[in-house]
């Protein structure tokens, strides 16, 4: 029997970098200390925050909800609301919604559910099976619309901060994906707290599990009875992330500590990028000319995808015009936005 390095009881987790083993109780202490250190170091929360926890119904987001609820005992002015986005993926989301509702009820946490169907007019299943929904991978539509609705719903609920359960594994996978895509403007956004650019309609986003391995959130979820089943999104294996994740896990297996090393690499590059003035880091974020939501471009990615899916009906020349406008705006020209004449009647 492998024993806890602190008390000698049976160990449930061994850190492969430090070699320390922990029993149930001391694993919880270790986990809690790590998350609280991240929260403190990056000042993720304020004393009066209304925290919107973005929950998918999976183990990581339920672990985050459970953890923050416990931590809120020491921050009595916090208000916590769980928010789930229902993309409309049959055989997957319907099961996880049920689990989500059971756990928020056990934890006595208020919750809200927003759905693609109600907010956008179609489910993800309908998007990917539609004539125009083949242009991108399902995860692109899902990710863009989810982020869009999360911010919109969090603001509507009155949230002051959105906490997501992105863990160390998620962060470094995205980092590698963005290196492959040469997307340095996206890498800047991989800090534990959103920004530095701001917008009055953008709710601050934080990642309390930034320095926590996915294996650690799994152990936390199991020992707290939050991991009650495993459902795989039917679209997950189509994404680049799937391959990157496998590659990183194989690397970590052979060379323990690789994941922390990549996170350190990301933190170094974030520091370097923050000193680069030509990246306009402190500028205000744009406002989408269609929906008024925060956007990196004159037309936000959600409206861009919606036009491509024809939920906003445009005549054939309008898509071309949108691309021209994007190009001009990107090059800092200021011209009139799209007007009603571009809509079909």
């Amino acid at each position: 029997m492998v024993k806890c390095s602190i008390c000698g009881r049976r160990a449930v987790y061994t850190s492969r970098t430090s070699g320390h083993s922990y029993c149930n109780r001391h694993f919880t202490d270790y986990f809690s200390k790590k998350v609280r250190r991240t929260i403190r170091k990056y000042q993720l929360f304020r004393p009066n925050d209304h925290i919107i926890v973005a929950v998918s119904g999976g183990k990581d987001s339920l672990a985050l909800l459970h953890f923050l609820k416990k931590l809120s005992r020491y921050s009595p002015r916090w208000k916590i609301t769980a928010l789930l986005v229902d993309e409309g993926i049959s055989g997957y989301r319907d099961i996880t919604i049920k689990r989500f509702q059971e756990i928020v009820s056990d934890l006595a946490i208020n919750y809200e559910i927003v759905s693609f169907k109600e907010e956008l007019g179609y489910t993800l299943d309908q998007v990917v099976s539609s004539k125009h929904g083949k242009e991108y991978l399902p995860c692109t539509y899902c990710g863009v619309f989810r982020r869009y609705l999360l911010n919109k719903a969090a603001r509507k609920i009155g949230g002051t901060v959105v906490a997501t359960a992105h863990n160390l594994d998620d962060i470094i996978q995205t980092y590698i994906m963005n290196i492959i895509g040469n997307d340095w403007d996206k890498i800047i956004r991989l800090a534990p707290i959103s920004g530095p650019a701001t917008h009055p309609r953008l709710v601050r986003k934080v990642k309390p599990f930034y320095e926590i391995l996915e294996k650690e959130t799994t152990v936390y979820a199991i020992i707290n009875n939050l991991y009650t089943g495993f459902e795989e999104c039917p679209y997950a294996r189509l994404s680049l992330r799937w391959y990157i994740r496998r590659w990183l896990n194989e690397l970590e297996e052979k060379r323990p500590g690789t994941k922390y090393a990549i996170l350190n690499s990301l933190l170094s590059i974030l520091d370097i990028l923050s000193k680069k003035t030509n990246l306009s880091l402190n500028e205000e974020i744009d406002t989408c000319i269609f929906c008024g939501e925060p956007s990196a471009n004159p037309i936000c990615r959600a409206c861009d995808l919606k036009t491509r899916l024809s939920s906003i009906e445009l005549n054939p020349d309008a898509h071309k015009r949108i691309d021209e406008l994007k190009h001009l705006f990107t090059n800092k020209y200021r011209i009139l936005p799209i007007t009603k004449q571009h809509y079909t009647t």
Binding site: V2, V12, F230
Partner: protein, 67 residues
């Protein structure tokens, strides 16, 4: 008797027991990475170096999220 292993989201497998077998050997036998699964026996989480016994029933929880 052997070891019965239920891998959540994948199915149930029976593997042959060998003397001194550990959780890490079960992972190897099934072609799984220890970075991607957590083993549980009778509701208790096991680390990779933990020994398994003939007749054990293990449940493997996927570390990777399903979304």
């Amino acid at each position: 008797m052997g070891i019965k292993v239920k891998v959540l989201g994948r199915g149930t497998y029976e593997i042959e027991y060998r003397n001194g077998m550990r959780v890490s050997d079960v992972f190897k036998k099934l072609g799984l990475l220890s970075t991607e699964y957590v083993a549980v026996r009778n509701g208790e989480v096991l680390i990779e170096d933990e020994k398994v016994n003939d007749g054990d029933e293990l449940v493997l929880y996927a570390v990777v999220s399903g979304g």
